[in-house]
């Protein structure tokens, strides 16, 4: 088992509120990992620290063995970590196609000045839009799309960056059952193609059905981890979160 994302004794406090209290976690490469826990247990803060959006107070963060704790968000993204947001973020006044094309990373000056609607990349972008079922919205501005469509668009954009590891922050949030199904299937497909997932989620059906490995957070640190079958019956987890 190789590690994907790993943190050692990660700490972050906001004023008097301790969000992460010595979180030592290791997610598994090549698997679908889930990060669950009650509200306020530090899951999104964890994501934010790991992707460089906020700076942790102390602790180590490594990805595939290299230290990423001090890296800028764009460097972490380029290292192969993609991420969606809890409150789905897209570029509102750009078309769906442009939203996805924005994930293309040009190399150097020549690459930067090349046309944004370059053939090869447009095809690849449309490919992702099609795979997520929103190719008919390619020229529609993101702000005119429904919530579910925006969630799919956000995911398409992230995937366009060809991330090795994808962090999903509450992919099931505000989503209808049919769409939920599609997302779950998609995650399994992408995982079979070699992508690692770390999913923060409250929807236990989804978590139990697609995860290989679950880490449970409570009050800023992990309290249990293991395969779904184990977590489902773990007393600590039941007490803190799942309810009987």
């Amino acid at each position: 088992m190789t590690t994907s994302l790993e943190t050692t004794d990660l700490r972050k406090a906001f004023g008097g509120v301790v969000a992460l209290d010595g979180a030592t976690v290791s997610f598994r490469h090549g698997q679908v990992n889930a990060l669950i826990g009650p509200n306020g247990s530090g899951k999104t803060t964890f994501f934010n620290c790991v992707t460089g959006m906020i700076r942790a107070d102390s602790g180590r963060i490594t990805y595939r063995g290299s230290d990423i704790a001090r890296k800028a968000p764009h460097a972490i993204a380029r290292a192969g970590v993609g991420r969606t947001f809890q409150l789905c973020r897209v570029f509102p006044r750009m078309s769906a196609l442009d939203n996805v094309l924005a994930a293309v990373r040009p190399g150097g000056l020549a690459g930067g000045l090349r046309g944004a609607r370059h053939r090869a990349e447009v095809d690849r972008a449309r490919g992702w839009l099609t795979r997520l079922g929103i190719e008919h919205l390619a020229e529609i501005e993101a702000r005119n799309m429904s919530w579910g469509q925006q969630k799919l668009l956000e995911l398409a954009g992230v995937l366009m960056g060809e991330p090795e590891t994808v962090l999903l922050d509450e992919p099931a949030g505000g989503v209808n059952p049919a769409l939920l199904d599609r997302i779950g299937t998609l995650v399994r497909e992408l995982n079979a193609e070699g992508r690692t997932f770390v999913i923060v989620e409250h929807n236990m059906d989804l978590v139990m059905s697609i995860s290989d490995h679950i880490v449970v957070f409570d009050r800023g640190r992990p309290i249990a981890e293991g395969p779904p079958a184990l977590i489902r019956t773990d007393e600590r987890v039941l007490g803190a979160y799942l309810g009987v």
Binding site: T51, A72, H74, V90, P106, Q149
Partner: protein, 345 residues
């Protein structure tokens, strides 16, 4: 608007502009009108240069007047103190200002939104202070006289030559803007405008991008300022480092539409002509300040996207009304539509 008609419009616009630029000096009834035309074209260059930062990244700088002033003074000082030929001085001045824009950008671009606006204002004010006080070097409040690059020319010819020079600079600026607009770099900048953190999380090196476009903007702005110094021949810190000039630029770009290639130009035409009109109406009283303020206020309140987009949507509404309200739908289309609705919430 679909891409084809957009391209056609841009092409037509360019041809019209070129024709107007070439024929204007001959059509102008007197040298005063011609010099007013130069002022308008200068504004157009400045506004377009401003729009590299304002339009692409969404960072509103009220301090671009500072960069123009620096370009003007650098050119003037290189000619008077270093003895460089006029246009060499212009080029060197632009490079110097571009180089200076790097540390300025490093400091200013760390902050966003209104903080950035405040920093830009502070920049102008502090430069005004410096240039007024450092009289020994810059001539202070007495001003600085710049020798003409073509001393033999009479005034009308002088204006003619500079009109073409300014038009050429405008063409260059428009070209650069257009290149960035369609490029991958430009898409990254626009992503910054939409959601800077999200852009960064997708892998865009936001700070580097902002800095690069800021330097490009500064270079063009400095060129305009320097060319103005060569044309006008007389520099005064109060006018060179003027918050008012900086605000005119913003007004012009906003009025015309910051997301359009020709937006700042359109805004410069409208505001430039309006300014001349107000000066005629109100003489040189401060009422032109009131007029500018009112115009800026109206644009901000009612047309924050600018005139060109407002016109564009008007045209679109007109077009849509021509189509029938009930389309005939085939069975297969209906089926496809139903399938899509499943995905929709």
């Amino acid at each position: 608007m679909p891409n084809v008609s957009k391209r056609v419009l841009t092409g037509v616009g360019l041809v019209l502009l070129a024709a107007a630029a070439i024929s204007f000096p001959s059509l102008a009834p007197n040298p005063y009108i011609l010099s007013a035309g130069i002022v308008v074209v200068n504004y157009a260059v400045l506004a377009t240069s401003w729009n590299f930062v304002g339009g692409f990244t969404g960072y509103i700088s009220l301090g671009h007047g500072a960069l123009a002033g620096l370009g003007g003074y650098a050119t003037a000082l290189l000619v008077t103190k270093a003895g460089l030929p006029s246009f060499v001085a212009l080029a060197v001045a632009a490079l110097l200002v571009a180089a200076l824009a790097v540390p300025i950008g490093l400091a200013a671009l760390r902050v966003r939104g209104a903080s950035f606006v405040i920093v830009s204002i502070a920049l102008v004010l502090i430069l005004l202070l410096v240039f007024q006080s450092w009289a020994s070097f810059t001539g202070g409040s007495r001003g600085l006289v710049v020798p003409r690059p073509f001393p033999g020319l009479l005034r009308p010819e002088h204006h003619r030559v500079f009109f073409y020079l300014f038009s050429g600079l405008l063409a260059l600026a428009l070209l650069a803007w257009w290149l960035i607009d369609r490029s991958r770099f430009g898409l990254g900048l626009k992503a910054i405008r939409e959601d800077e953190d999200k852009a960064e999380s997708l892998g865009t090196p936001t700070f580097a991008y902002k800095l690069i476009v800021f330097v490009v903007s500064a270079a063009f702005t400095a060129l305009a300022g320097g060319l103005y110094a060569l044309w006008f021949g007389d520099l005064d810190p109060v006018f060179q480092f003027s918050i008012l000039t900086g605000s005119y630029l913003v007004l012009m770009a906003l009025l015309g539409g910051v997301r359009n290639l020709f937006g700042p130009l359109a805004g410069a035409l409208i505001v430039g002509i309006a300014l001349e009109y107000f000066k005629g109406q109100f003489g040189n009283t401060p009422l032109h300040l009131v007029a500018t303020g009112v115009l800026l206020g109206l644009v901000v309140m009612f047309m924050p996207d600018g005139v060109l987009p407002a016109l564009g949507s008007l045209v679109q509404r007109f077009r849509k009304a021509e189509q029938g309200s009930i389309r005939e739908v085939s069975a297969s289309e209906l089926l496809a539509q139903r399938k899509r609705e499943e995905v929709r919430q």
